[in-house]
């Protein structure tokens, strides 16, 4: 302890020593009471000798060496201070950029921030022990030898193989992404040049970076038997033949009549029934309701109900006697016997009816066949029908028709009817390629609030 104190004092007494931490004041230690301990044991020396100040000092020395590159006390004054000549410095700074413009070598000078951050520590970096000693060197050597052997055989390790594979895939992906799908100058090539049905079609892999997955069989069937383009009836010609035009008009007329009928039906259903309308009489009755009592009704009706209820309750089953039971049993047996006899005779009789039975069976078979064929026919017809694919049913578009006076005499004066875009869209719906939909209605989420603006006020 004494030695440590001496050391400290020695250091403090040195002329140029500056401590970085001001806390290590010698007066602190005087204030604390010394603890008495046996000093005849080495253990206690270690335990109770106070070496903090020595350590602090050493730490401080190391700190100085680390940060400033040597003890501050040993440094010259020029290294620590500079003379602040405020005005002159600014002028210099201004002059510098001008020079910089002219000089090309400016870029070679390090930045000030780099200079500040540059460590000027004198302590060499600690040695990396692992650089000289390898843990598990023997094992690693053995692994390397094994790898060499495998490489000589031509076996590529799994990790490397994986990497190689990935690299290939990446390159293909980059190739595939070239230009937009709808680029008007895009080029095409012979796609159907080589047919390969295997899933690992190299062309497919090149395009997508994936193997092809088998397409379900059912996807290759068309959802409807209808043709893609349905040609308009001959009456739809721009200069139609009289009768075919009439036929088309008739068709359109029928559609309209059907529509009208449905509308009328709906109207009829929605109309108010005349009996439901209030007349003066019914209105009066309603007003007087409950004021005049129909005494007779009230009295008679509950009585009837009572009687019925009591009658139902009274019927009680009496127990059968033994004799009755025996009799019933005998009757039952007899009945069954009679039935069996009858059945037998009928069977015997049927032997003579063979021909008619055969005819009946034949007829039945014919009927089933007929029904079967009818059902098949219906199913075939269904294939050309639009299916119900969602909330809405398919609505057939209006027939394109021009009346006699709308028809143009020549191609120049022709006014096209209907829209082909709509026609195509409806055709897609009709062929079950897309489900019929309605345009989403605009619905305001937030309430509208009316505010009087300052610029304009309504006169009330």
């Amino acid at each position: 302890m004494a030695s440590s104190r001496r050391l400290r004092r020695m250091a403090a007494s040195q002329p140029g020593f500056l401590t970085l931490k001001p806390s290590s004041d010698p007066t602190d230690l005087v204030g604390g009471r010394r603890k008495r301990v046996n000093k005849n044991k080495k253990k206690n020396w270690n335990k109770f000798s106070d070496i903090t100040d020595v350590e602090e000092f050493l730490e401080d020395v190391r700190h100085q060496e680390r940060t400033t590159g040597g003890l501050l006390s040993e440094k010259s004054d020029d290294g620590l201070f500079f003379v602040d000549l405020g005005q002159a410095d600014k002028a210099e700074q201004k002059a510098e950029p001008d020079e910089g413009k002219k000089r090309k070598g400016k870029s070679t000078r390090p930045l000030r921030i780099d200079l500040i951050l540059q460590g000027d520590s004198c302590i060499p970096p600690p040695k990396d022990v692992l650089a000289y000693q390898k843990p598990n060197a023997k094992k690693l050597r053995r692994i390397a030898q094994k790898a060499e052997q495998l490489a000589a055989k031509g076996v590529v390790p799994r990790a490397q193989k994986k990497l190689l594979n990935r690299r290939l895939a990446d390159r293909t992906v980059k190739k595939a992404v070239t230009e937009a799908n709808n680029n008007p100058n895009r080029d095409y090539y012979d796609m159907w040049a080589q047919e390969s049905k295997s899933p690992a079609d190299p062309w497919y892999v090149l395009q997508t970076g994936k193997e092809q997955v088998k397409r379900p069989e059912k996807l290759n069937q068309k959802p409807s038997a209808l043709p893609a383009v349905e040609v308009i009836a001959p009456g739809g010609s721009y200069n139609p033949d009289f009768l075919s035009h009439q036929a088309l008009l008739q068709e359109a007329h029928e559609v309209e009549v059907k529509k009208k009928k449905q509308e009328d039906k709906l109207e009829k259903q929605l109309a108010v029934n005349r009996e439901d309308k209030a007349t003066a009489e019914t209105a009066l009755r309603e007003e007087v309701e409950g004021l005049i009592e129909d005494e007779e009704d009230e009295e008679t009706s509950p009585n009837k109900e009572d009687e019925e209820a009591s009658g139902a309750a009274i019927t009680v089953t009496e127990k059968k006697t033994e004799r009755q039971r025996k009799k019933e049993k005998a009757e039952k047996r007899k009945e069954q016997q009679q039935l069996s006899v009858k059945r037998q005779t009928v069977q015997q009789q049927q032997l003579f009816q063979l021909r008619s039975i055969k005819a009946a069976i034949k007829q039945q078979e014919q009927q089933t066949k007929k029904r079967w064929s009818k059902r098949k026919e219906k199913q075939e017809a269904q294939k050309a029908q639009p299916r119900r694919l969602g909330k809405l049913k398919f609505q057939a578009p209006d027939l394109e028709v021009q009346l006699r006076d709308e028809l143009a005499g020549s191609l120049r004066q022709l006014k096209p009817e209907g829209s082909i875009l709509k026609d195509r869209f409806k055709s897609l719906q009709k062929r079950n390629l897309i489900e019929p939909r309605e345009r989403a209605k605009f619905r305001r989420k937030l309430k509208v609030k009316y505010v009087e603006k300052r610029a304009f006020k309504e006169i009330t």
Binding site: A176, V177, T178, E179, A180, N181, N182, P184, Y188, Y189, D190, M191, W192, E195, K197, Y204, Q207, T208, Q212, R215, P216, K218, L219, A228, V229, V231, I232, P234, G236, S237, Y238, N239, P240, D241, F242, L243, S244, R387, R388, L389, G390, K391, E400, S410, L411, R412, L414, P416, G418, S419, I420, L421, K422, D423, R424, F425, N432, I434, E435, R439
Partner: protein, 580 residues
Amino acid sequence: MGGLQKKKFERGAATNYITRNSARKKLQLSLPDFRRLCILKGVYPHEPKHKKKVNKGSTAPRTFYLLKDIRFLLHEPVVHKFREYKIFVRKLKRAYGKTEWSAVERLKENKPTYKLDHIVKERYPTFIDALRDIDDALCMCFLFSTFARTGKCHVQTIQLCRRLTVEWMNYVITSRALRKVFLSIKGIYYQAEVMGQLITWLVPYQFSHDHPTDVDYRVMATFTELYTTLLGFINFKLYHSLNLVYPPKVHVTMETLSSFLHGCKLFNKLSITGVKLSALSGSLARVVSTEEEEEAKLDQFPAEGEDVEKMEAREKEQKQLEAQKKLFDGLKIFLNREVPRESLAFIIRCFGGQVSWDKSVSIGSTFDVTDETITHQIVDRPNFDKQYINRYYVQPQWVYDCVNAKILLPVEDYFLGVTLPPHLSPFVEEKEGDYVPPEKLRIMALQRGEKPAQEQEEEDDEEEEEDEEEEEGGDDEVDEEEKAEEKNLKKMEEQKSQGKSLQVKVTPGKVRAENPARLEQEEKAEEKRLAIMMMKKKEKYLYDKIMFGKKRKVREANKLAAKRKAHDDAEKTKKKKARK
């Protein structure tokens, strides 16, 4: 007792279907993206047989998909692209919101794109499969190519559609594949025969768009996206099958080049080849320049009986087809500015005619109005001032009707200011006994090479009526003669029954002119009668039924014909009155 309890909706139909919403969730896509994916991959909704079972007891209307299809969609590489695109949009929106223009630019440069080549190959494993499904693609591309650039869809899509349709038309011209045209009030229907497949498509008239509001443009654009890819690959293959260069190049002579250059000044934006192509007036460059093509002849095999007839019919058809392909060969046709140029140029070139138009109408005109060798000029206005003597001035319908009739129709009916004969639909094929409009009958007669005897129609009505009567009578001639014979026989029998001795006389015999054709006919009729007599009861019943149906059809047709005649008469009297 007895195993586990069976639960409802865990097997059978309920497990084969999936609702749209759950499918969407399974694929982790938004509804528009899901819809797009389904359209591209050809996965369509399916109506289950027992909806209640599939819908787990509920009867609410839902859209169902087959579960297997959705599972198949899970493997689609394009799905990732959709997700990428979604993220791209999000980033772009954010960049816009923060007004970071450099970020916007960078993002736009790296816009994620995808290709549908693999989907096309997957959906159409062979070329013929693709060709069979091309109707829709053509319709859609022709439709989109006529759209105005108003932001209803991408301008690029419109341009691509235009390019593809022009390529297609040029292919049809070079292969002379067009068969039928029909001008309807909706648009123009074309039918072509490409590699044995009949392909029909619909082209809208120019400038006829009002954009309907109840059409989902996004869906249509998605279909078009797929179809442009499909049509492009098909075009490539078709061009190569004809030994043509793809992308197409046009042979241009020196005369036309100047007009092209003149045009290109006007349309500076478009590339020169594209403009040349869309003019439809130049022939395409070939890989190996062989002008003469070997004409494939039908192989002849020695055949017997019915086969011979069939062969003959086929040969005849082939000949007719060849003739039709050269319909306008050697004609030089000039289009006036008021007629639909593209359609007419396309058709005339399809059948080997030369076509041109005014320089200021469109580029690519090959000769001038003043050219003395022009044979026809297509005009669609009531009168025309300066007329050349050595050419016909006809209305555009003449071209279309000629194509459908497969012969050059007389031009008189189509002259300037003349009321046109009706334009009949070539897509109607009449069966035996159906009503055939008189105009069609006339064309059929012309096809057979007969001259119609209706030229003095308007001058002498009465004569014409007599003619008609005669024509009608022609069919019944045979019957009348038979009736007369029967009458004679009956007389003789009566006399026999009355016990009178027949007056026996020897009269000098007359030499009956034997008509071999007539005899043959009679023989045939007799054979038929005998065959009918030999029929079994069951077959006879069926036969009678068929005949009855035929007769009924004929009766209906007659009714229609009578109606038509009444209408015509009424018109005629009206005209007469007006004249008076």
